[in-house]
């Protein structure tokens, strides 16, 4: 059997064609079709500030520990209603995630609407949740002697605050919190098709 798969052209060509077809059918085509999904009613694009906050969320890899996908399972309902395709119409790059070292954030804007809480939590999570394993993000803040006009002062609990000085949220922190507060699932009216 010289010929057949002992011919280098066939050895390269046959698997190439088979895999190219499969890559098209299983990768590119579903990717293209699902990219056309229209937004669910009420799902709107982010504002410029929220988009900057999302870019920070992406850059810092928040999605490695926080999913943005509520599964149609009983244990996920604490995070919100099951996600639908139209929730993700403006969500590029996608941030569905693969691991929940922390809770799902699909609906965190509704579940934790307080920016005071978010600012303190991002500065030092353990000041609010003692057994949290979330990293602290002090580089989103400036520590100053006195607050100036227009500064967003963060009321860090005693023991975690630098003594005698004030913690100020930078523009980056304000953008990130604006993004987190924008994560609100729109209510679905009527029957949900799935």
């Amino acid at each position: 059997m010289k010929g057949g798969m002992n011919n280098v052209v066939l050895l390269v060509g046959i698997p190439f064609v088979i895999y190219a077809i499969l890559a098209l059918l299983m990768g590119a085509l579903p990717g293209w079709v699902l990219s056309q999904t229209p937004p669910a009613p009420g799902v709107v694009p982010l504002t410029a500030q929220q988009a900057r906050g999302r870019a920070t969320y992406v850059a810092e890899g928040c999605a490695y520990c926080h999913t943005q996908q509520v599964r149609p399972l009983k244990q996920d309902l604490v995070f919100g209603r099951p996600s639908v395709a139209g929730d993700y119409a403006y969500a590029t790059p996608e941030l569905l995630g693969s691991e929940r070292n922390g809770p799902d954030l699909s609906n965190i804007g509704s579940r934790q609407p307080s920016d005071v809480w978010q600012y303190i939590h991002l500065y030092e999570p353990r000041s609010l949740v003692s057994s949290s394993i979330m990293p602290a993000y002090p580089w989103f803040y400036r520590v100053k002697e006195h607050a100036d006009r227009g500064d967003v002062v963060v009321a860090v609990p005693p023991g975690y605050a630098p003594s005698g000085r004030v913690v100020i949220a930078t523009q980056e922190a304000q953008d990130l919190v604006a993004y987190l507060k924008s994560l609100k699932q729109v209510p679905l009216k009527g029957a949900v098709k799935r």
């Binding site: 499969l22 990768g27 999904t37 890899g61 969500a91 790059p93 941030l95 070292n101 353990r126 394993i133």
Partner: protein, 472 residues
């Protein structure tokens, strides 16, 4: 000049040429192995630091050492800096030996090595600066970094296909089917996934499922299986048990693997039937896994004494065992009833280490220990090899068992409606155990690096001149 003299002189020239070009093969194998070893050390040092951030979250608080940035550096460093380069070095050497000639197009191979490293260096720097494609696992590198990796794969393909085309052997050995396949598939895969303009929102999720599974299945699995099909019979000094099982494995891997990517996104709004299709073919994956494992075990059968006395074969045996366990585990995980508990927990991280480390990395080590001394004529240290083997084997086993138990408990906590923080608290001891296993694995890598030094750059111990120099 008589005819006889002419023939003799030609023969001498050919022999000299063969010797010099075979040393060219050895130089390439050496360079790929050293390069991959450096990335193994960097990427797993990062991995150990990451694991200690679970018990000590305030450890090394800095943007450049933060969990969210380092995690991608660990995964991409191990995938593309270490495993891809190590297995390409092995793959090129295997292709040349099984083709009966010296590697064709060595300059392409050297260029490939450069491109792999440019990609890994740029990728590490950009990720540490927070420049990425989002948390799209194993394709976080932005396109202008990924393009160097694609170039490296294409350059490697040219060398390997060229070598097979020029082969002195009549038949193309089965290992080369798998190795050539890996490069062809990965070129297509990388192009499909690196082009981002058509991917938005949920569409990007679909491509991501396809990409992340195929990067493991069509790249590393094919490379590792190809390497086993050559190295295992070579070290046992007997033919592979069944050529036909190897062929069956090749075609079933090729057809089943690309269909199962969506099992990474079960219970998402990706169409339900598409997820079901992925689950069905995940069960189908048992066919190539059983065919491959059975073929390897039957090849070894009756030669266990040889395995015991070999430095390289134990690594390959552990690699085959983890191939079987990790792949079967993947099938079971894909079932919806179990996925609902295990998905999104640390269980998945245990699974990925069972496969990428227990299987892929052990096969790379076994082939390097088995083939590199033949290429360079220099042996590793037996004690260091033994310690490397046991630390890595015990380390990864602790790692996988710890996260399997911890992940299951996390999933059960969620299922019974505990507050989220309960799952963090109950997984904590298992995360600590993972750090202990991970530290053992890292120490094993230091011993491997020492052995790579002995097999490549070190002076030949058996060379009396070298000893004389030392004493003088």
């Amino acid at each position: 000049m008589t005819r006889e003299e002419g023939t003799t002189s030609t023969r001498v020239t050919n022999a000299q040429r063969a010797a010099s070009s075979a040393s060219g093969d050895a130089d390439l194998f050496t360079a790929f192995t050293i390069s991959s070893t450096i990335w193994l050390l960097i990427a797993t040092a990062v991995g150990v630091l990451l694991s200690f951030k679970f018990p000590y979250p305030d450890l090394a608080t800095s943007p450049y050492l933060s969990f969210g940035r380092l995690r991608a550096i660990h995964t991409n460093g191990t995938f593309y800096g270490f495993a891809s380069v190590a297995l390409t070095g092995v793959g090129m050497y295997v292709t040349a030996r099984s083709s009966g000639i010296s590697l064709w197009g060595k300059s392409y191979a050297w260029a490939a090595l450069c491109c792999y490293n440019i990609a890994a260096i740029l990728g590490t720097i950009t990720l540490d600066l927070g420049i990425n494609n989002g948390d799209q696992e194993y394709r976080e590198w932005v396109w202008w970094v990924a393009i160097f990796f694609v170039a490296a794969v294409i350059l490697s393909t040219i060398t390997i296909v060229g070598t097979i085309a020029k082969r002195a052997e009549r038949y193309i050995y089965i290992s080369n089917w798998y190795i050539v396949g890996a490069y062809i598939f990965t070129t297509i895969l990388a192009v499909t996934s690196a082009i981002l303009f058509y991917q938005h929102g949920l569409g990007q999720v679909a491509v991501q499922g396809f990409y992340m599974h195929n990067a493991v299945g069509m790249w590393f699995t094919f490379l590792a299986l190809g390497a086993i099909y050559y190295t295992l019979p070579k070290l046992l000094n007997r033919p592979i048990y069944s050529y036909a099982l190897g062929v069956l494995g090749f075609w079933t891997n090729l057809v089943f693997y690309p269909i199962i990517g969506a099992h990474h996104f079960e219970f998402t709004p990706i169409p339900w039937w598409f997820q079901t299709l992925a689950i069905v073919f995940s069960v189908g994956m048992l066919v190539p896994v059983f065919a491959g494992t059975g073929n390897f075990v039957l090849t070894i059968s009756g030669r266990w004494e040889r395995v015991r006395r070999s430095m390289a074969l134990p690594f390959i045996v552990v690699g085959i065992a983890y191939y079987f366990l990790g792949s079967s585990q993947g099938t079971i995980e894909a079932l919806r009833s179990l996925q609902s508990i295990w998905h999104l927990t640390s269980y998945t991280v245990g699974h990925s280490h069972a496969t990428m480390y227990g299987f892929i990395t052990f096969i790379a080590w076994g082939c390097i220990y088995g083939l590199l001394p033949k290429a360079t004529g220099k042996e590793p240290n037996p004690l260091a090899t033994g310690l490397h083997f046991w630390l890595a084997t015990i380390g990864v086993t602790i790692y996988v068992i710890a996260l399997s138990i911890g992940g299951t408990i996390q999933g059960l906590n969620w299922a019974q409606g505990d507050p989220f923080i309960t799952s963090v608290e109950s997984a904590a001891p298992y995360w600590m155990a993972r750090s202990i296993g991970g530290t053992m694995m890292f120490v094993a890598h230091l011993l491997f690096a020492y052995n790579v030094y002995l097999m490549t750059l070190a002076r030949r111990a058996s060379n009396p001149d070298a000893i004389g120099v030392v004493h003088a």
